[in-house]
Symmetry: C2
């Protein structure tokens, strides 16, 4: 990124932070997000907002749901803030620069209804497997913050990451549904919001993989194994 | 198939039937397969043997497991019998011309340890979905005859059938494992026995999909949903 572009993003970041859209200490609101949003609506989070078209569009379409966008790269959130402003998104979207590995510091047990993971970094090297957002330790933290009937919605263009994720989820006994190996030619396309990356990638004719997963109590805990 | 080839197959069929390899009334042995095999070894079945390389090789490699090969097309079993004879397979392989939809007439609850489905007919038309061997009614019959810790091992080259099958299995709350979207380049390749079809198809560089599924008691029955 050129320095000038970066400075612009930092300015935008500061502006959206001042306006209350960007919030730097999510752990302060653990267990009390409903007070911040001022209502009891369900909370959906996206881990890794990228440029933010996905979560901004979703928040615009669903004013009755509260959204929290988590992104490690501070400056990207300036861009997400701008996108949200363009779409005139209301107070139902909060952005926060944070590390997803600390999720349980940000949300209480059962406080989250849904987690979106879109085109997460595949970390292709085996020694980096632990960094993948569907690695078992991440799944454990998702299980901790999600309601039992909540869900992770995951999509990716990366076949290896999808295979890895299906196995991690199945091994941890999540209940899978709406599995597709070609989202854009499937019955689950209706209502799909494309990320910037997804639009670019799928226009080349490559398939998008997608799965929903619900934590439920594990069978193992019920004495089956 | 040319008439002469067909006549030859029918002869082979009759020969292997006379020799006890092919058995025409599997329902007679329901609950008593161990008497037929003369031991208490686990029972693995393949639904749709095709030309039989898979189950013959497996039976040859594992004399301590009993195998039952089920194939709707009588004449194909003549070929499977020949393959088994070539490999000098012992009495641990029985072939039977039967319709898989009648599985619960052939086996008692818990009598089967494993079911193999290899490159099953994809029945691509939606109105034929009920004929796919991973359609929910088939899964129900597999659940009926399998031990709780038994498994279905399914592989296919057909992406749509694989997607369909993953969803049917997940919806019916089977515990999935060893899921791969490219078997031949995966860690599950070790010990893989290629069917005739698989060898031909994968040599063109197309991926083979595979999954294992265990029935376990459903979560729904345990009061979770």
């Amino acid at each position: 990124m050129r320095i000038r572009g970066r400075e612009k993003l930092i300015k935008q970041y500061q502006m959206h932070k001042a306006a209350g859209r960007i919030l730097e200490l999510p752990s302060k609101h653990k267990g009390r997000w409903h007070e911040l949003f001022g209502n009891d609506n369900p909370i959906y989070i996206e881990i890794g907002t990228g440029r933010g078209r996905f979560i901004s569009t979703l928040a615009h379409q669903h004013p009755d749901i509260n959204f929290v966008g988590i992104e490690l790269e501070h400056e990207l959130l300036g861009r997400v803030g701008r996108k949200a402003a363009e779409l005139e998104v209301g107070n139902n979207l909060i952005l926060t620069p944070a590390d997803a590995s600390r999720l349980i510091d940000f949300f209480d047990a059962g406080e989250v209804h849904r987690i979106y993971l879109n085109f997460s970094d595949p970390w292709p090297k085996t020694r980096h497997a632990k960094r993948r957002l569907t690695y078992r330790s991440f799944l454990q933290s998702y299980r901790s913050v999600l309601r039992a009937d909540g869900a992770v919605h995951f999509k990716t263009d990366n076949r290896d990451l999808f295979e890895f994720s299906l196995n991690e989820l199945a091994d941890d006994d999540w209940k899978l549904s709406a599995i597709t190996l070609d989202l854009h030619n499937s019955r689950w396309m209706e209502g799909n919001i494309m990320t910037e990356y997804e639009e670019k990638f799928s226009s080349r004719g490559m398939p998008i993989y997608r799965v929903e997963a619900r934590p439920y109590p594990k069978r193992e805990q019920q004495g089956v194994e």
